[in-house]
Subunit: 197 residues, 2 copies
DNA sequence: AGACAGATATACATTATTTGTCTACTCGTC
DNA sequence: GACGAGTAGACAAATAATGTATATCTGTCT
């Protein structure tokens, strides 16, 4: 079935940019078929409905993004650098593509309506990964959670909440990247162990 | 009627980016109304149909672009620089926005189907402006059309044809800007007077 | 050659969406 | 209070999309 899997992946890789560009409603099965270089009928050989295709696309996007996030967190360097990198990857893969455009909201809404489980699961997994990273860093005294009086899990969730808030604020003169970096700087200061207390 | 004209302009300025982004067919009157911050019913107070609105939009885009082109050609500096600037403006305003995307063709097709007269007229006017610029430059011996054996009008039309060809060639690794600059360099060499003949 | 799997083009009924129109209602201005 | 300009909402007709079915084509396997 790996042959079929490659076909599926090829279709989804073609479909995802179309969804990102036009949103869910304005993307027709004909658009996707054209982008994938196959006929509309063939599309229905691989997916029973537009919703099913979208769910598979959402799953693929989240899976790929989380794989990259995991790789970033598993890399070398100090924990904060790795986490900043991981957050940046997450933003780049799952948030930035919808550049605050008008149909971004529509796409997010469609995603929550049709693939809330996938999205929630991905968030849970990201939270877990960040929590583990924070935990390990705390044990090696690389970071100090004492002053914050917060658990790694709480901190991870705060980070994700902040990312969420930042993404919905492009109205201001602020950019996603800048806001993200600012928040990470904040975090960095808060958990950096101070020798003289 | 200047009050009404401002309303019209405001609607068109909101509508044009939507048309550019989604093409003609995928842009609904509801989309335009939302972009302009008015109700769909109000849209029909200013325009009797989507086609009429599109024609007005095409007209506005062409008028604004040609005004800028005219300003560029009327500026200081040598004729070739001014023409290169004018061509760049024309590209930026009327060609580059459709970044070779999938719906660019659809939009061009709609434009030719619904506003061919406007487009053709704009091209004629651009041709005239370039021709006059070339003429003036030839009279002051700033450029030398002798070796080319071409009239200013012919040269102007060649320039526009080249721009047209370049715009349809983004498949190659070439960019619109680079190709345009290359062509202008070519032109520059061909008409620069050489002292020693 | 014949069977077969996968793809395609085409047509189709069923929804869903869009267009253009109309009416009733609101709000600010004269 | 009349008026102009706007809005919300309903509406029929036209258009587009979805999902299904059928016939056809194209390679591959035996």
């Amino acid at each position: 079935m790996t042959q079929n899997d490659r076909k599926i992946a090829q279709i989804l890789d073609a479909a995802l940019p179309v969804f990102v560009r036009f949103g869910f409603r304005k993307t027709s099965m004909a658009d996707i078929a054209r982008a994938a270089g196959i006929s509309r009928a063939s599309l229905y050989l691989s997916f029973n409905s537009k919703e099913e295709l979208f769910r598979a696309g959402s799953m693929r996007a989240h899976t790929l993004a989380l794989d990259e996030v995991g790789a970033a967190l598993a890399g070398q360097g100090n924990a904060l650098d790795r986490m900043e990198m991981a957050i940046a990857v997450f933003q780049r893969e799952l948030i930035a593509p919808f550049g605050g455009s008008s149909d971004a909201e529509e796409l997010f809404a469609a995603n929550m309506a049709l693939a809330a489980d996938i999205t929630l699961d991905a968030r849970t997994r990201l939270s877990t990964m960040l929590t583990q990273t924070l935990n390990a860093a705390a044990e090696t005294k690389e970071i100090d959670l004492g002053p914050l009086q917060a658990s790694p899990l709480q901190l991870a969730n705060i980070m994700m909440a902040a990312m969420d808030g930042i993404k919905h604020a492009q109205w201001n003169g602020s950019s996603l990247d800048d806001d993200t970096k600012l928040f990470m700087r904040l975090l960095r200061v808060a958990v950096t162990p101070r020798s003289g207390q």
